[in-house]
């Protein structure tokens, strides 16, 4: 089965509605997997607001800023457990401030860069997770079969409303959780996939889809991010199986611990 450590595949595809309207894909993803043996990984995904003109730039900036913060912590051997609510919230604030700077530089209202932001840092002892907006982080613990959303996607009263990291009172919606224990697999995705993989009535994450995408990742021979499998994941997300059910952008990161425990 190869050496232990995190294996990751990720994909980002533009929704058919964006292709038709000529809008750019407004999702962004940033991730790092520990180089020597995949002992930890950090990831962030962001989804730009549909009508915000520059939200593709906003989401890119936000995902990179928070993920860089997390990976620097990880590289400095600071465990996930050390990142409490205040520390991660501060990183979100910094990401929002960077977007505000970008908006000021480009002389645009900050709402044009509005985006959601989901982040994760998982090591051998546990995982720290954070979220503003919709989309979800779904995890499976070692030895368990159940997948569960760490947070439920933040939706407003209406289907086309959520929270963003910029705007008035934006970070009021900030959620943080540290999950102790050995995490076996993580899936992070933007709202384009929500309706296909979360049971909204029961508020659960039924295992079939997540097992389906995690199994090939788990079987990767080596730890780290795999380009070939990521390409196949993107092809799947662009296929009719998926595109018949959603016309939105989709970003999906699948991480699975593999090899001997």
């Amino acid at each position: 089965m190869g050496e232990a450590g995190w294996r990751i595949a990720s994909a980002r595809v533009a929704g058919t509605s964006h292709v038709m309207t000529g809008l750019p894909c407004q999702d962004a993803v940033s991730l790092t997997c520990e180089e020597t043996g995949g002992a930890w990984f950090t990831a962030a995904i962001a989804d730009g607001a549909g009508s915000a003109a520059r939200s593709d730039r906003g989401s890119e900036q936000a995902a990179r800023a928070v993920e860089t913060f997390l990976s620097v912590q990880a590289a400095n051997a600071s465990p996930a457990s050390a990142l409490g609510r205040a520390a991660v919230l501060a990183a979100y604030r910094d990401a929002a401030a960077e977007i505000e700077r970008l908006a000021a530089e480009e002389d645009q209202p900050v709402r044009e860069y509005a985006c959601t932001l989901l982040a994760a840092y998982v090591d051998a002892a546990g995982g720290v997770f954070a979220q503003v907006g919709d989309g979800a982080i779904v995890i499976r613990m070692d030895g368990e079969t159940e997948w569960r959303p760490v947070f439920w996607p933040q939706h407003g009263r209406y289907a086309n409303e959520t929270n963003f990291i910029v705007g008035e009172g934006a970070l009021d919606a900030f959620e943080h959780a540290y999950v102790e224990g050995r995490v076996a697999a993580v899936a992070m995705f933007t709202d384009g996939l929500e309706n296909l993989v979360l049971d909204r009535a029961a508020r659960t994450a039924p295992a079939p889809f997540f097992e389906h995408v995690a199994a090939p990742v788990r079987r990767l021979p080596r730890p780290g991010w795999d380009k070939a499998l990521s390409d196949k994941l993107a092809a799947y997300l662009s296929s009719k199986d998926v595109s018949a059910r959603t016309d939105d952008d989709i970003t999906l990161v699948v991480a699975s611990h593999g090899g001997p425990a």
Partner: protein
């Protein structure tokens, strides 16, 4: 592990069957005596085209839910149904214009529908209420209560309310009811009106999170 599996690791549809998010649209249509003749014929033609337009868009057909009340007397002609199930009834003119009661009953129906969505975990878009009339209310001061409900609903973003005045409508009262201002219908452009309505509902039902839906400028009103 087979080679085939290596080549196509992902595939199939291991998905959850969530109900589509709904985009409710309530039509309140005046069928008083004065609508007799061409006006009601144009409304009927407009409704048919409305259904066809919505159904030409597979997502809108599953997401837009239409309900219809006519007045007067106030009658529920159609409970909320997705566009693919919506069968526009042929409307005939009847008697008077109990506009106040129609709004009150209609908003009540809408509230019940929203409750049902919530109970079943169905996501929904901000509902639309569309009032079309060519007269003055004949149910006394009830329209004032209706106007208060509309104000409250618009204020809390519980719905968007549009009042369309056909020639002869009491625009003063319609303006008092509709926060955003009543829209006078040019001539008998009901078809244009319903075409605009279906295309707007299509935009709403396709809108994504954080999107401010920009509606086409109506071509059926002089405002």
């Amino acid at each position: 592990m087979s080679d085939d599996f290596e080549q196509v690791p992902f595939g199939g549809q291991p998905f959850v069957d969530n109900p589509e998010p709904r985009c409710p649209c309530l039509l309140l249509i005046d069928v008083s005596q004065s609508m007799r003749g061409r006006p009601i014929a144009e409304v009927n033609a407009g409704l048919k085209a409305f259904k066809a337009d919505l159904n030409a868009d597979s997502l809108a057909a599953k997401r837009v839910e239409v309900a219809m009340l006519t007045f007067g007397p106030v009658r529920v002609r159609q409970h909320f149904e997705t566009a693919d199930e919506f069968e526009p009834p042929r409307l005939d003119t009847e008697e008077d214009t109990p506009l106040g009661q129609a709004i009150i009953d209609g908003l009540d129906m809408l509230e019940t529908r929203k409750e049902l969505y919530k109970q079943n975990g169905i996501a929904y878009y901000r509902p639309w209420v569309f009032l079309i009339t060519d007269g003055s209310p004949t149910d006394g001061e009830l329209w004032k209560r209706a106007a208060a409900l509309v104000r409250e609903g618009e204020g809390s973003k519980a719905f968007s309310f549009f009042a369309v005045g056909v020639q002869g409508a009491n625009m003063k009262i319609l303006n008092a009811i509709s926060e955003r201002g009543a829209l006078p219908l040019e001539g008998l452009m009901f078809r244009e009106l319903f075409a605009w309505l279906s295309s707007s509902l299509k935009s709403v039902s396709h809108s994504r999170v954080g999107e401010t839906v920009s509606l086409a400028k109506p071509d059926w009103t002089s405002v």
